[in-house]
Amino acid sequence: MILNETSVAEIKEKMVRYPRRKSAILPALTVAYHQVGHLNDDIYDEIASIIDIPAVEIAEAATFYTMFPKHPVGKYLIQVCHNISCALLGADSLVHYLEEKLGIKKGETTPDNVFTLITVECLGSCASAPMMQINDQYYEFLTREKVDAILDELRKQA
């Protein structure tokens, strides 16, 4: 078992809140993500047996949401929005800048396991484009200078 007792108990507690068991898939995935830091096939199987939904449906939901990483990631998961508003305001060059600065390609993790860089679909913050999300925090109206400051700050905390 990958999921610990606390997570299993939490999933079971969330399950009963919904009239249909299927609705508990996302809350269950969130619990698993918070415990493990990423998701994988074994976790889908475990959740499937807890909430009694075919594993394929769990996997479908999990892979639909880019917010759940499917491989181990660094301490800080940098998710740069690349949808229309952000793209128009320079998301692409922002990604290039981050790649250059971190010395990794999109989808990779720095050797010290601190940063992972990915691009994601719209995060609903178009009014403050370009933007990115690092772990649970939004960073908006980004410029190169702002990115420098954010990364410096995070590296200090790492």
Binding site: D41, Y44, D45, P54, A55, V56, E57, A59, E60, T63, F64, T66, E121
Partner: protein, 845 residues
């Protein structure tokens, strides 16, 4: 407004007024008056999703184009399906769908029958505003194609997929299989198997057929031929009694694939893999093409004249010396009606013998005509009628394997119409997934359990008033719920619960299958089921389906390919033939017994393989060895043809036209697709040749014989059910000594009778016999999937690889039969109700 009007809505589509039932979509309303709206993701048997947007229509007063497949028709709607705005919408949708679609139509197997190709031609433009590179899925870096195997016979090319989700939706909604999903999102969405799974269900071929583009293809059709080079032939499936309608696609002498020819009364457009890939036996290697005659120890090629002359001479010798009663005939119930009729006529008018039977896989057969079982099977049953039921009761059937398409109808009424399903089986089956209660009884105790249900229905005062229930307690044994529970091993409260559900049901469909029909106590079981049916009022409100197994079992019954017939059927035959043999005939098992006692000297086996199918290997071997003369007609060399004095090459169903009677009693015609292979002949021609050599021809031409056949097939017997509760005493056999595990010999889902082993595609799903065990049983034996286990009964032993079951959870051994390499019938004994075995692990050296 009257209440009748409340259920109807009237709207205008393209200037035409149409009134449709409330709840119908705009798309269906348009279809109903012949207006076609192009679609990709819509399917008549699936819930709408509105994924492809191709079915755009303009509805007045709506701000934007609406998807007609998911818009309910409303009173007063004014719909335009062909306005400029709609055309513009369709063009844009197509442009978008084609965004990443490869232009590989010349090498794509869907080319020529592709929805995307056709609709782009009809509604699209030949240019795109997008000039960036198309997104590509590449699994195998060495190839530019993304050809990825989802399971046996299914190849996926994700680049071609337009994300209509019909495969995933039908798989979950209709088939109840959760092995395929749509992963990721946006333009990188991918159709793939679930984690650690493969798509290998009995319904998997439908996913290919339902695909509107070339994203899913199957290996039998792929790269073999283009669709426009083939001709379509109407056919009927020969691999169970459901009688699904098929189209065979052929070019010259080869069949390339089989697809569904939708018939809503039976299959609703779905066929199982047996029907889809079973056609391959016609073109398979190893077909018999010339007659063989045994000379010394070897069977040597011979001409038809030599073979027929020999058969006629030997039959005549035996008949003149000892009478026709010393000749027996076994016919395969998957043959066409004309062959079965000619077979019966040959025996009864030329050989003067009533020894004909088609029931080769039944242990012991009744010795009296008109037994209750035969009476009930002659009653009407309707597959579509299952949808009227609020309770479906399945007793003794692994429905998904025995009748895959009837199973879909049961699934439909349960998952979409809210009916309750109860299953009563000696081991758990896939139907348990959707059962309200899946009751597992101890092997060989089903009548005790049914008696318990009857008693409980009466105790709960739920019995139908059309029957005198007061006598129940004196007629059945056990006659209390507690005793029934004790004998059957089912908790009393579950018996009471099911009895309540049955008593309160408005319309019940009762289905029983092979686990009962081939049992030696089937008379007692049938009587118990009849009691239950009477008490639940099923004769008035419901239907009882003792489902026959083979494609033409029902036809064989109606044509009288049985030794003991009802008086009315005998009278019918006398008028047709002017005579009928006097002596009582012998059933299949009695014929073999008589052969063993040297009372039967010659046997003519047409199309079946009793050596492999008869549920007592040793018995059938001893019987056949004692025969003086054995004639076998079949498609391939079998265990039975190996012992024959004369082997005749039989034509496959694809090589003739004819008809089958399905489990409902519906007569369905199939056309000839290809010419008989080599010198092979249809069964009726073989019978006619033998008859001509002996005395006189059976018929001038098959067409001339057809009215006689139809007269028998369309005869309605439908006997009135006697409204009297019957006596049902339970006798329980105990496992003896060291053989303690109950054995069930069943068909594998992808293998039927002795034939489909020759289908290459079906062999890819399953090519050998298995031992299926519950996880706990496997653990006891320290067995994993593939571990070899020695299965021993009192009379025989076989070594089989293990499959760990997803469903079974009690201690039983389920083995799959009819694989020529592992004759598991060696384990069975004809007189034993339940065979018991001992399982031991084969130690590796």
């Amino acid at each position: 407004m009257s209440s009748a009007d409340d259920n109807k809505v009237t709207l205008t589509i393209d200037g035409r007024e149409v009134t449709v039932p409330r709840g119908m979509t705009v798309l269906e309303a348009a279809k109903s008056i012949g207006i076609e709206i192009p679609t990709f993701c819509w399917h008549p048997k699936l819930k709408p999703v509105g994924a492809c947007r191709m079915c755009y229509v303009e509805i007045e007063k709506m701000p934007k184009l609406a998807v007609s497949c998911a818009t309910e028709a409303m009173p007063g709607m004014v719909v335009h399906t062909d306005s400029d705005l709609v055309k513009q919408g369709r063009r844009a949708v197509l442009e978008f769908i084609l965004l990443n679609h490869p232009l590989d139509c010349p090498t794509c197997d869907k080319g020529g029958e592709c929805d995307l190709q056709d609709l782009t031609f009809a509604h699209g433009i030949d240019d795109s505003q997008f000039d960036f590179n198309k997104y590509r899925f590449i699994r195998d870096k060495k190839s530019t194609f993304d050809d990825y195997r989802l399971g046996p016979e299914i190849i996926r090319n994700q680049n071609r997929c337009i994300l209509c989700y019909k495969c995933v939706r039908s798989n979950k909604e209709v088939f109840g299989e959760y092995d395929l999903g749509a992963f990721q999102r946006g333009n990188i969405t991918e159709i793939d198997t679930g984690p650690g799974q493969q798509v290998d269900s009995i319904y998997s071929g439908n996913l290919v057929e339902i695909c509107p583009v070339g994203a899913l293809t199957n290996t039998d059709w792929r790269y073999n031929i283009r669709v426009w080079k083939t001709q379509k032939v109407n056919s009927i499936c020969q691999y169970c009694a459901d009688g699904c309608n098929l189209t065979l696609w052929k070019d010259r002498q080869k069949i390339y694939r089989a697809t569904s020819r939708r018939n809503d009364a039976i299959d609703e457009g779905w066929i199982c893999n047996r029907g889809r890939y079973g056609y391959q036996i016609a073109n398979a290697e190893g077909r018999l093409t010339v007659p063989l005659i045994k000379r010394g120890e070897r069977q040597e090629n011979a001409t038809w004249d030599e073979a027929i002359e020999l058969i006629a001479r030997r039959f005549k010798e035996i008949k003149d010396k000892k009478g026709g009663v010393c000749i027996g005939g076994l016919a395969y119930p998957g043959l066409d009606s004309a062959s079965l009729y000619a077979f019966s006529k040959l025996f009864r008018t030329i050989l003067n013998s009533n020894n004909v039977d088609f029931r080769i896989d039944y242990k012991m057969l009744p010795e009296e005509p008109g037994d209750l079982y035969t009476q009930i099977t002659s009653r009407k049953f309707s597959i579509a009628g299952i949808e009227n039921s609020d309770v479906v009761l399945v007793i003794g059937s692994n429905l998904i394997n025995e009748h895959p398409i009837t199973n879909l109808r049961v699934r439909k009424v349960v998952t979409q119409k809210g009916a309750k399903l109860y299953t009563l089986n000696p081991f758990a089956t896939k139907s348990g997934d959707i059962s309200t209660d899946e009751i597992i009884y101890r092997a060989g105790t089903v009548e005790a359990l049914i008696n318990g249900l009857c008693v409980s229905i009466v105790e709960q005062k739920l019995a139908s008033d059309t029957v005198d229930a007061s006598k129940l307690a004196t007629r059945v044994e056990p006659n209390t719920v507690a005793q029934a529970a004790k004998i059957s091993g089912v908790e009393a409260d579950r018996i009471v619960g099911l009895a309540q559900a049955l008593g309160e049901a408005k319309h019940i469909t009762l289905i029983t299958g092979e686990l009962l029909s081939t049992s030696i106590t089937r008379d007692a079981i049938t009587a118990a089921i009849m009691n239950l049916a009477l008490l639940c009022g099923m004769a008035e409100n419901g239907q009882i389906g003792f489902l026959s197994k083979y494609a033409n079992s029902k036809g064989a019954e109606k044509l009288g390919v049985m030794p003991l017939l009802s008086d009315s059927l005998i009278a019918e035959m006398k008028t047709l033939w002017g005579g009928y043999p006097e002596q009582k005939g012998l059933g299949a098992d009695r014929m073999i017994l008589s052969a063993k006692k040297e009372e039967i000297d010659a046997l003519f086996v047409m199309g079946s393989d009793p050596m492999l199918c008869y549920p007592d290997g040793q018995f059938v071997r001893e019987g056949i060895e004692k025969l003086d003369f054995l004639v076998v007609a079949d498609l391939f060399e079998t265990r039975t043809t190996q012992m024959a004095d004369v082997v005749l090459p039989l034509s496959s169903i694809a090589e003739m036209s004819g008809d089958f009677v399905n489990l409902e009693g519906t007569v369905q015609h199939f056309d000839q697709a290809i010419k008989p292979l080599g010198q092979s002949m249809p069964g009726y021609d073989i019978c006619n040749k033998i008859a001509s050599a002996l005395k006189e021809p059976l018929f001038e031409s098959v067409a001339r014989m057809q009215p006689d056949i139809m007269r028998l097939l369309l005869r309605e017997e439908n006997p009135e059910i006697q409204r009297e509760l019957r006596e049902v005493k339970t006798s329980v056999e105990q496992a003896s000594g060291e053989y303690t595990v109950p054995l069930f010999v069943v068909d594998q889902a992808h293998h039927f009778a002795h034939l489909t082993e020759r289908s290459k595609s079906l062999s890819a799903f399953c090519s050998e016999a298995h031992l299926e065990l519950s996880p706990s049983m496997a653990e006891k034996l320290h067995a994993e999937t593939g571990t070899l286990i020695r299965v021993e009964s009192e009379v025989g032993k076989v070594i089989l690889p293990v499959i760990i079951s997803e469903h079974i959870d009690n201690d039983v051994a389920v083995v799959t039969r009819n694989f020529s390499a592992n004759p598991v019938n060696d384990l069975q004994m004809r007189k034993q109700r339940v065979d018991y075995v001992r399982l031991t692990r084969v130690e590796e050296k």
